[in-house]
């Protein structure tokens, strides 16, 4: 029954092995006082390798909840979430932390760099928790900095950088663990349009290199960079655009 729902959502030439992420009737219910609020009211969908989704919808439509569940920061109230065909919907806190560490990279609207650490240390943060040796992670940080166009800024502190540069650091940090999927929450929200455009170019390039990207945004201009668009309304999938 659920499997049918999934396949009906996808194109007829659906190949299940291409699905990295699969939601099966995922619900998230909050209690606001005595009232139940359905942030997600039964969402079923799947993301394939190489997709670039823009997640859109009015506020309160469940975008953030979906992002949190996708990123293993939160667990669904009911339903299943398969990540690379493993059910992660009821894992322990430690196991979820481990999934985040190995499979995801987060990019936030407000960059969320740790101010007392240098650029290099910020990029190295996931590697630190992965237990990499200092020399190896330093080399990796340099390589990533170069890739996002931050060569020579490794010893700066975040507050010595412009917004665009800070977001590049965040992207480098999100890439450090070589994640399957990048989760971006309004990555250009705090940037002017030119820098925002540059960040979007960077994300598009990363997508071309094979990363799945899921990006929450309000702005149609930004959403236009994505290959697929997913519209949420009242906790349900409203419509989907683009080849998927």
């Amino acid at each position: 029954m659920t499997l049918q729902t999934v396949s009906s959502l996808n194109s007829s030439v659906h190949d299940a092995r291409q699905d990295v992420v699969r939601f099966v009737n995922v619900r998230k219910t909050y209690l606001m006082g005595s009232e139940e609020v359905h942030a997600l009211a039964g969402v079923s969908l799947s993301f394939r390798r190489g997709s670039f989704w823009a997640l859109m919808g009015p506020s309160g439509s469940g975008k953030s909840t979906m992002l949190n569940i996708l990123g293993c920061l939160d667990r669904p109230t009911s339903g299943q979430y398969f990540l690379e065909s493993r059910d992660v919907s009821s894992l322990s806190d430690d196991a979820l932390s481990d999934f985040r560490l190995r499979h995801f990279g987060f990019i936030f609207q407000s960059f969320n760099l740790i101010p007392q650490l240098t650029v290099r240390e910020n990029i190295e943060l996931p590697l630190y928790y992965l237990g990499w040796e200092a020399a190896r992670s330093a080399a990796r940080a340099e390589e990533l900095a170069e890739r996002v166009g931050l060569t020579g800024r490794l010893h700066h502190r975040p507050n010595q950088l412009s917004g665009g540069q800070q977001q590049r650091v965040a992207v480098a940090r999100a890439l450090a663990n070589d994640p399957v999927m990048l989760l971006a929450d309004e990555p250009t929200g705090n940037l002017d349009s030119v820098t925002g455009e540059q960040i979007m170019q960077l994300l598009s390039e990363l997508n071309r290199q094979g990363k799945i990207i899921l990006m929450v945004t309000h702005e149609p201009d930004i959403a236009a960079h994505a290959r697929q668009r997913l519209y949420l309304r009242d906790g349900l999938v409203d419509r989907m655009e683009g080849e998927h």
């Binding site: 949190n68 806190d93 430690d94």
Partner: protein
Amino acid sequence: MRQLRMARNIALGIKNLLLHKLRSVLTMLGVVFGVGSVVAMLSVGEGASKEALERIRLLGSNNIIISSMKPVEEETGSGGRMLRMSVYGLLYEDETRIRETFPAVSSTVPVKLLRKEGRLYDQTMELRMVATTADWFDLVQRPLIAGRKLTARDVKDRANVVVLTEHGARRLLATQSSIGQVFKLGPDYFEVVGIVKNESGPAGGVQTPDQEVDAYVPLTLARERFGDISIRRTTGSQESERVELHQMIVQLKSTDDVERVASGIEAMLKRFHKKVDYKMSIPLALLREAEATKRRFNIVLGSIAGISLLVGGIGIMNIMLASVTERTREIGIRRAIGAKRRQIVGQFLIETVVLSTVGGLIGVCIGVSIPWLITYFAKMPTVVRLYSLVLSVGISMGVGIVFGLYPAIRAANLDPIVALRHE
């Protein structure tokens, strides 16, 4: 590898603490003063009790000391020129009796004290004559400076020989060649055969008969020459006493027998003496009492210092809670990236332990210098013991863990989603 990681974690903790130098220093102060006061108080307490304990130990823990004591008299000398003679104290036969009754006794040393004037040419000085046997020098350790001590033969031969203490020898014999010098002591001439060290340290609670300028002579000789009667002249009256022995030291073969033999001797003396004209002191009992006092003292001091450490710990907890709130966002970022709860706990715990350990080490430095200052300025003895340093640094680390745990757990239990949204 694991050690390297730990080193990195500690380095990170230190880095975070250095970010707020003033705050870290102020947070540390509580522990600094807590530990400082623990170390200082314990060392003052140790110093105070060490002196008493050493003095008692010097008397020998398997000795019983019986001293003659003038009993409280019913009739008081009512004016006029009264000639009275008080007879009291230990008897020569008490010594024999004790030695022969108790098999646990290894030796007894009788002591007779007399005041005599020493004279060498025109030099005079009042000496306390300690008439005793050769065993005295075995019981009371006195390092020999020159010559020899009294021997059993001196006692047997009633030889006119004297052993002087250092002070007396220096003042009386100053320019003369000391050993072999003959000087007048009372009505008689004595040959100096040896010089011993004075007892070290100032006068304490338990009296030993050689704190002043003492002249040790064979008991047999003193008994023959000076008898048992001493006359003291005071204005208007003349008092004479007849005391056979002023003190007797009973040495036992083992410490275990002390209490049993002491009560035996007491019962015996009670039978043969009409009045209580003696006093027994048992160094072992005094030692135990002093040790108990020291323990109580240490507990009181320790509790006071412990309270100050507690206050220090609460200070740390308070600041760490503030720090957790301030760094909520950082915690959220770390959790989102994939840090596990226990890694967050570890991060914050390391910071508190670093704070409290560094505070503890500074406190030890202060705690060691305060006793030094006390000794230097107040001339009070202090003893800094290693155990108090180890103890207080250990306790301060414990304080760091105990009071750091709650803030750290609170940090780790933050919902990463909420923490990320925190402004």
